[in-house]
Amino acid sequence: MRRYAIRRSLTVVPVLLGVSVLVFSFIHFIPGDPALTMLGERATPEKVAEVRARLGLDRPIWQQYVLYMGKVLHGDLGVSIVRGDPVATDLLRRFPATVELAVSAIVVAIVFGIPIGVASAVWRNSLLDSLARLGALTGVSMPIFWLGLVLAWFFGVQLRVLPTGFRLGSGTALVQWTNFALLDAALQGDWPALVDALRHLILPALALATIPLAIIARMTRASMLEVLSREYVRTAEAKGLSRRAVILRHALRNALLPVLTVIGLQVGHLLAGAILTETIFSWPGIGLWVYESIESRDYAIVQGVTLFIAVIVVGVNLLTDVLYAAVDPRIKYE
């Protein structure tokens, strides 16, 4: 088990190195000089040369990469090209907002996805099942930005029951301790701010939750159907256990294992979805930040955030695999 964990961890190194090379080269090889993008219509050859020198773009690319990675290993992600602020500091300040949103979304997805999947499997081919499957299909194929706009328009503009975006109302002054708005409000006992933060969280969390919710529901259904046909389930039924006990205690427990893997895999999707959700709802996390940075070609930020997200996704997958090995001793590293 320990050997597996160590070996599995070692595979992370080449993956991350590969990611860093990819991220670095993508940004450098897409057409268009960032210096020109920054200067726009006003670009003169002298200005362009000056900006290129300032950004280090006049050096050979391998030198730029080595310099960059040397700094990254010391926790220095460079400074923003547009604003001049350290990327690592800003990243840490903005990340809590994204975590808050992503965690809420995954909670929504689990709380609704698993029961829907179970019900769909238990009452297979019923009207409920058809509706759930149709809903799941729609959920998977609906573009987040479109759904986000519709939600904001309906609940914010038409009904006016929820804010159309943002993390707090313009009248709410919450002192930021941890940058987790809900946590800060709770710690400070500021209940109006807590309610305000919750209200702002609902629509973006729903928009971001749809795809994982649909995937979890489908996965739960498929996994439940498989388990329900197993012999031990029949045995449990034959023992005279109630249907409720058979489904929840015997079938669901075993059916959940593959679902857990799927939930682990959602981390990457959630962070990618956050870029769209945050942009639509003006949610001040790293998604909105990276969107703005791509537009302004602030590639210090784009590189830093992409690397950071890659580390998280790789880390979560590593954790899932190791946990799996802990749960199921049959898994070994070959």
């Binding site: 975006g165 639509i280 003006s282």
Partner: protein
């Protein structure tokens, strides 16, 4: 079950309609996050919208015009040779940190912008910032600058000496970049001053929540029109539709950056009003003069007669566009009202092509070096203020050209590559435009036409135009200068040097009860006159 009921109740209680922002707070929806709030080093409209509330310059633009009126300087005079400017400062004005605004503070600001060795200049440059507009408007730093001396000649008198007269000098000083900052505050914060701005303006800076909003509060001691609203919040709402949603929901009171299609939505909403910013931007088509066919004026005239500008403006600008007859937009004082534009007349265009020996029309071009290739018409891949939807506009123009026998292949590329090709003079026919900085005609015309034959201008060389423009640059009398700019526009027109297509008036939307917002061509807009009724 009880748990579910409780959850449902909590859920429903969250749906109680939100508070509307109070009458004492004005919330403006901006298109993005400010870069920073030190006016001397910024170049973008999102940041300057905020700094204009916090700072004042020596002079400012009057109302919605580009004429200049007093601000921190009460009055001024200029020597007869146009080289020495003496400004009398307003008395009893204080920065928000309590320090007095006096001649010494103004001189300190000029030295910071102008002298590369100034500690508060040097530290910015080392941190990657540039004093870009000082360099652009005043010729450079230290000895390169047109400014040769700035001195306090009394506690509230500043004298600025120029090496040679500079016609747009006052208009330059009215730009947001030359707003006066508190020297003590700049020294205290150094390169972080852009996060802690201190000026003399109608609003004081309170807080900047990154990626969210900037909060300002009224300066009760303001020397000018006292702010009518106590608190201003400028929110960063990236998505245009979402920003309009927030306006319709009453979460914000005003916004910029409307999609052209949403203009009619605002017009038809009884709670909203539409304001148009006077146009300060012109979109054009440029010819490359290394293309033999384009060296023939009759061919260029054929283009001018072939394109239905009015049709394009009416169909593709959402009601905010104007037909351009010349490079300067109508709000500029050098605009030539007498100029008569080429009329849209396809048969005339065909006749011009025939005259030029192109009986079969034009589909292949010949470069100077003899190389032949199909005529490619380039359009930009991103929306610009002058061409809000470049692809559709390009398609419409290409269709007009095709009707008279000019067959073009439309092509686009990434924005930076586009600018690079333009710089090197590689595109035979392309769209581009300009948005003015300071309301001075020189800023519109000279960058493009003062250097005849520049590759970035498609090698267009019109020496008479350059001569007129350079002459106008040395005068300080606005009437004489205006005459020269009108003449330059006429010369450009007669030569069909470029095809000027459209001006755009960027739309702003407000709730009906917000009054007193004055849109300005340069985007220099002040919140102190705004009230919520």
């Amino acid at each position: 079950m009880r748990l579910a009921t409780l959850a449902l109740l909590i859920g429903l209680s969250l749906l109680v309609p939100a508070f509307q922002a109070s009458a004492q707070t004005f919330v403006f929806g901006a298109q993005g996050e400010p870069v920073q709030l030190d006016p001397a080093v910024i170049t973008d409209g999102i940041s300057s919208r905020i700094t204009r509330q916090v700072f004042d310059g020596l002079v400012r633009y009057k109302g919605a015009t580009t004429e200049v009126e007093p601000a921190l300087a009460e009055k001024w005079e200029v020597s007869s040779d146009g080289r020495v400017w003496t400004f009398q400062l307003r008395r009893n004005v204080k920065f928000h940190d309590g320090n007095p605004l006096d001649a010494a503070a103004v001189v300190w600001n000029f030295e910071r912008w102008w002298k590369a060795a100034h500690p508060q200049h040097d530290n910015q440059v080392k941190a990657g910032q540039t004093f870009e507009y000082w360099e652009g408007q005043f010729g450079g730093f230290d000895d390169k600058s047109v400014v040769s001396a700035v001195a306090a000649v009394g506690s509230h008198t500043v004298r600025i000496t120029l090496k040679e007269p500079q016609a747009p000098f006052l208009a330059n000083l009215a730009m947001f970049v030359f707003d006066i900052a508190s020297p003590k505050a700049v020294e205290r914060w150094g390169t972080e001053f852009g996060k802690h701005p201190v000026g003399t303006g109608a609003y004081k800076f309170v807080e900047w929540k990154p990626n969210q909003e900037v909060v300002l509060e009224a300066n009760a001691d303001y020397w000018g029109v006292k702010p009518k609203i106590k608190r201003v919040v400028v929110r960063n709402i990236k998505d245009n539709s979402q920003r309009l949603g927030a306006l319709k929901a009453g979460e914000i009171h005003g916004m910029e950056g409307l999609n052209p299609d949403d203009v009619s939505v605002v017009k038809s909403d009884a709670n909203l009003q539409l304001l148009l910013r006077p146009t300060n931007t012109t979109g054009y088509i440029a010819f490359n003069y290394k293309v033999k066919e384009f060296q023939d004026k009759r061919v260029r005239q054929a283009f001018a007669h072939a394109i239905n500008k009015r049709g394009i403006v009416e169909a593709l600008y959402g009601g905010t566009g104007l037909v351009a007859t010349q490079f300067q937009p109508p709000a500029l004082w050098g605009y030539n009202r007498e100029l008569k534009d080429y009329e849209y007349n396809p048969s005339q265009a065909q006749a011009m092509l025939r005259d030029a020996g192109l009986r079969q029309g034009l589909s292949d071009i010949t470069w100077d070096d003899g190389k032949k290739e199909p005529l490619v018409f380039w359009y930009m891949s991103r929306s610009r203020p002058y061409f809000p939807n470049p692809k559709e506009i390009a398609e419409a123009m290409a269709a007009d050209l095709a009707k008279v026998g000019i067959k073009t292949q439309l092509q686009t590329t990434e924005w930076a590559v586009y600018l690079d090709k333009r710089k090197n003079g590689q595109m035979p026919l392309y769209m581009l435009g300009w948005t003015g900085d300071n309301g001075d005609p020189d800023n519109f015309l000279c960058y493009f036409f003062c250097q005849p034959g520049a590759s970035r201008e498609g090698f267009y060389a019109n020496k008479p135009v350059a001569d007129v423009l350079l002459r106008a640059q040395k005068l300080t009398n606005q009437g004489e200068r205006a005459k020269l700019y009108r003449q330059a526009e006429q010369l450009l027109h007669d030569d069909v040097g470029r095809l000027f297509i459209a001006n755009n008036q960027p739309p702003l939307a407000f709730v009906k009860r917000a009054k007193g917002y004055v849109p300005h061509p340069t985007g220099s807009e002040y919140f102190n006159t705004v009230e919520l009724q």
